[in-house]
């Protein structure tokens, strides 16, 4: 059994199709391991080599990675949830009820999505504070810190726009209260709120706008900045790792 699995895997790896996709042999040498990273669009974000110290849990608590993985999990569950969601009043609320009561595993997906969203906001904050206290914002990482701040804002907006979608009392009043903060801005505040909500009150237009922002605009922006963020980590010399003489004069 064990050998047959291995053998069939090996046979698969020997096919032209496999090779055309992965363009490398088994990752047994450093060269082929490098190719594995280089040759893959998504892994290309990562450097070929990392410092051993940066792999330790205490170096980062994997906060950035987990935030990213949460983003992926949110994307997957979010796309699945979209199959049962109509951004309309009051159908949106009925869809929540159907997810809860009728759709197979619907309530589970919604729970995971909601939980992951809260966790992501929490972890992104934590990630930021952790990076700060480790001095990770210092040159040459300044720009990546700024990208990180943008990603923090995007995360907040993603969570905030998603908050309205169930169209229940919690959602409605949280967005009403939240959007009124915007109108406190001088001169442009009420106009901005008007544009964001597509009206003067949180209504059908607001739901549709928040939906589009939540499922298209903000995720694309986040994906783009996450790419920049990863890529800059690599370009700025990897994770900040304390050397022996850090903090000691």
């Amino acid at each position: 059994m064990a050998t047959t699995l291995q053998a069939s895997l090996d046979r698969l790896r020997a096919t032209r199709v496999w090779k055309s996709i992965f363009r490398r042999g088994p990752a047994v040498t450093n060269r082929s391991r490098s190719q594995a990273v280089f040759g893959n669009l998504f892994l290309h974000w990562l450097p070929v080599k990392v410092r051993e110290k940066a792999l330790t849990v205490r170096a980062s608590y994997y906060l950035g990675s987990i935030s990213f993985l949460l983003f992926i999990a949110l994307t997957v569950t979010g796309i699945l949830l979209m199959f049962y969601y109509h951004p309309a009043v009051p159908q949106a609320y009925r869809d929540m009820k159907d997810l809860r009561f009728v759709v197979s595993n619907g309530v589970f997906l919604r729970n995971v999505h909601r939980l992951a969203a809260h966790l992501m906001v929490l972890l992104v904050f934590w990630h930021m504070f952790h990076v700060f206290y480790r001095g990770g914002y210092k040159p040459p990482h300044e720009f990546n810190w700024v990208v990180g701040v943008i990603l923090l804002l995007l995360t907040l907006f993603l969570s905030y726009t998603g908050y309205l979608l169930p169209w229940d009392q919690l959602a409605f009043w949280a967005i009403t209260v939240g959007s009124n903060i915007i109108s406190a801005m001088p001169f442009v505040g009420s106009k901005m709120r008007f544009i964001l909500l597509g009206g003067n009150v949180v209504g059908e237009n607001a739901l549709l706008r928040f939906y589009v922002l939540h499922v298209v605009v903000l995720p694309l922006a986040a994906f783009f900045f996450i790419g920049v963020h990863f890529w800059r980590v690599q370009k700025d010399g990897g994770l900040t790792v304390r050397s022996k003489n850090d903090g000691k004069k």
Partner: protein
């Protein structure tokens, strides 16, 4: 480090990865497993097992599918999945009470479950597929299942008319109307009645300050803790109108001061002529004579008196007007005579008819009331209050408006105060989170809240101004049902179309008839085109039924058609002209479209037909089991001795062919008679005439008076 060592994964990492992969698979499997074990699937399987234990398994499982059962009625906004668990809901053989829930069938009702769904009547969360979520109040759903004992309230959300199948709802609505709840609250379908409580503009001329004090402290009609209604200490069925307010001693002083000072438009004291006073003033039998007139005029049809029989005291008499046992100790004599002469002169909306009094009658009856209908103990517990001070009056005025007295009582030109209490017209659809429970520990649901609010308003809100009502358990349930039915306008236009409005009958006569109709307050007892009281026959079709001459003689000398009745038409001492105006109006206007005048021509009826009719009456249809002719027969239906003078032949014909078409709900059996038989019976009945003439009428009048006296005393 050797370059190739950079890529070697340690055994420990492999182990960790393998373990975490296994955990990953195991944990991921939990949700699908949980999904397999959902509650509704459990009940689905349970139904199959249950059906196998029944003799008609095949029929019970014919429609069975393992999926969710959903009733979707888009136009009513109904998505009900109740039948997913309640699978036997339409299976007639599962209607038995021994069938376990959720599989029991629904008792037969006029609505089909597929066309109406479940939640429009029972509430609850129709989309839910879990027991707790579907039935109970949750964070996401605050309209729980309506407890079975209030389910008529759900009927009332659409059926605003009074349906005989809904006794509890009707009783509740009646109680709400009777207790003047609409005086303070806006209620769906219950408008503020014209007469809420008496106009108090001149109440100081009617009663003393001490009496007001006593009344405010203990309203005449008191319901004790066990729900028994007592009037002046006597049990009765009457609904109390004036509730008991929780008033402090100071408030009692102030209010009685304020009210006793209300003497804006006093009625002029009536001065009896010297001749009458001289004739009757000294006679020892003046009160006896007064009592006799009191009975002959059938005051008892509207007013009750306490009568002691076999050691037990009961109130006997009608409930339209107040109970009068102790009224002589209550009102000023000056006021009493003026009131009897012209009630509307003191209280414009009074239901009391304006009798045509002879001076002698008025004198004797007032003397009877002043001396016999008294109670020396009435004011025994009341402190000496003395004259009202300015300060007390000012405080009393403030208390009067703070307690909401002005909701029911007008003082001076200020009129009544509208909507003193909260709007209750959509109370039935209120969410629990919208209710204030205060410190009370009652269950957090709407019906408990309503009941607590009615039984003890201060239990849920210590600052409640609402007076205290003591209802017995059944009435409390009925009122709760009626309040739960008030759910405001339906949410969807489709439901609005299905709503059955309350009939809102109005009868607005005009001209001379209207004046007499108002004077004698005919609508207190009779119905006209759906409007009016229930005590006496509906007169909407009287013109098609009775002959004009008979109406006139009846009005002048009311006698009873149905000797078993306690309440009879009072003797108004109507003039010939007034009786004629009423009879003309009734004959011409109050006609039934179902009675066609050309159907029977009285002149063509032959004695042969009458003979056949007599035969049919006595043998074939056995009418005498209910009706009396001569001295024999039953007392269920009206006495037919004078049918030939009383009824119109076309009415008799129409009545015999289909009584329920003319008077819905009448107990007269609907028989299938041939046209010939109908004609024969009509001919026979038209031959039944009592000899006319003054003598007979007088005899009848005397008989009526005597019977009336017996009726009151004997019931």
């Amino acid at each position: 480090m050797a370059p190739e060592e950079m890529g070697k994964v340690t055994y420990r990492m492999r182990l960790i990865f393998a373990a975490s992969s296994l955990l990953f698979v195991a944990v991921l499997a939990v949700s699908p497993v949980k999904d397999l074990l959902r509650e509704w699937k459990h009940y689905k399987r349970g139904y199959l097992q249950f059906a196998r234990t029944r003799p008609d398994t095949k029929r019970l499982t014919a429609d069975y599918r393992p999926d969710l059962d959903q009733i979707w009625i888009p136009e009513m906004n109904v998505v009900d999945r109740c039948a997913s668990c309640h699978q036997g809901i339409t299976q007639a053989t599962l209607a038995d009470g021994s069938v376990p829930q959720p599989y029991r069938a629904h008792p037969p009702i006029p609505h089909r479950v597929r066309e109406w769904g479940c939640t429009p009547c029972h509430r609850g969360q129709g989309v839910a597929t879990e027991v707790a979520e579907a039935h109970e109040t949750t964070l996401a759903w605050e309209q729980p299942i309506l407890p079975g004992r209030y389910v008529q309230g759900a009927c009332g959300s659409c059926h605003h008319d009074a349906r005989p199948e809904l006794p509890k709802l009707n009783r509740g609505r009646q109680l709400l109307a009777d207790h003047n709840c609409a005086g303070c609250h806006r209620l769906q379908d219950i408008e503020r009645s014209v007469m809420q409580g008496p106009d108090l503009t001149s109440v100081g001329t009617k009663v003393s300050r001490e009496w007001i004090y006593k009344w405010l402290k203990e309203p005449r009609t008191v319901v004790d803790d066990s729900g028994n209604v007592k009037v002046n200490g006597y049990e009765t069925q009457e609904s109390p109108r004036m509730p008991q307010f929780r008033l402090s001693e100071q408030e009692l002083h102030d209010l009685s001061a304020y009210l006793s000072a209300q003497r804006s438009h006093p009625v002029a004291p009536y001065k009896f002529s010297g001749a009458v006073v001289a004739k009757w003033g000294k006679r020892p039998d003046v009160t006896d004579q007064g009592e006799l007139r009191f009975r002959q005029m059938f005051c008892s049809t509207c007013h009750s008196l306490a009568v002691t029989r076999a050691g037990e005291t009961k109130l006997i008499g009608g409930e339209i007007g107040p109970e009068l046992t102790k009224v002589g100790s209550k009102v000023n004599p000056d006021w009493l005579a003026a009131w009897l002469l012209n009630p509307q002169g003191y209280l414009a909306h009074s239901k009391m008819p304006r009798y045509e009094w002879s001076e002698e009658d008025l004198f004797t009856v007032t003397r009877y009331i002043e001396t016999k209908l008294t109670d020396s103990d009435l004011l025994s517990n009341v402190p000496q209050l003395g004259a009202a001070t300015k300060e007390e009056i000012a405080h009393g005025k403030k208390t009067f408006s703070e307690k909401g007295c002005a909701s029911c009582h007008a003082v001076g030109s200020s009129g009544t105060q509208k909507d003193f209490g909260p709007d209750l017209s959509a109370l039935g659809s209120k969410n629990v989170s919208q209710l204030e429970f205060g410190k009370s520990t009652i269950p957090r649901n709407l019906s408990s809240y309503i009941q607590a609010k009615i039984t003890d308003p201060s239990s849920v809100n210590s600052a409640a101004r609402m007076p205290q009502y003591n209802f017995n358990a059944a009435d409390l349930e009925a009122i709760t049902t009626a309040l739960l039915s008030m759910t405001g306008p339906p949410a969807t236009s489709a439901l609005q179309k299905l709503t059955i409005p309350r009939g809102n009958p109005q009868f607005q006569p005009a001209g001379e008839f209207a004046r007499i109709y108002e004077r004698y307050q005919c609508a207190d007892c009779h119905k006209f085109n759906g409007y009016g009281g229930d005590l006496a026959p509906d007169l909407s079709y009287e013109g098609s039924r009775a002959q004009r001459q008979w109406i006139i003689s009846f009005l002048k000398n009311p006698q009873t058609l149905r000797p078993t009745l306690t309440f009879r038409m009072p003797q108004f001492n109507m003039s010939e002209r007034e009786a004629a105006v009423l009879a003309d109006y009734l004959s011409m206007v109050m006609q039934s479209p179902d009675v066609r005048q050309e159907a029977v021509n009285a002149k063509e009826l032959t004695p042969a037909q009458a003979a056949l009719g007599k035969q049919l009456y006595e043998v074939k249809y056995q009418c005498q089991s209910c009706h009396t002719i001569g001295s024999g027969g039953g007392y269920v239906g009206p006495n037919l001795n004078n049918a030939g003078n009383w009824l119109k032949p076309e009415w008799i014909a129409a009545w015999l062919s289909n009584p329920q078409a003319l008077v819905p709900g009448t107990i007269e059996p609907h028989r299938t008679m041939t046209d010939g038989e109908i004609k024969a019976l009509t001919a026979y009945l038209m031959t039944l005439r009592q000899s006319g003439g003054k003598a007979a009428q007088k005899q009848v009048a005397a008989h009526g008076a005597k019977a009336g006296g017996n009726g009151v005393a004997g019931q």
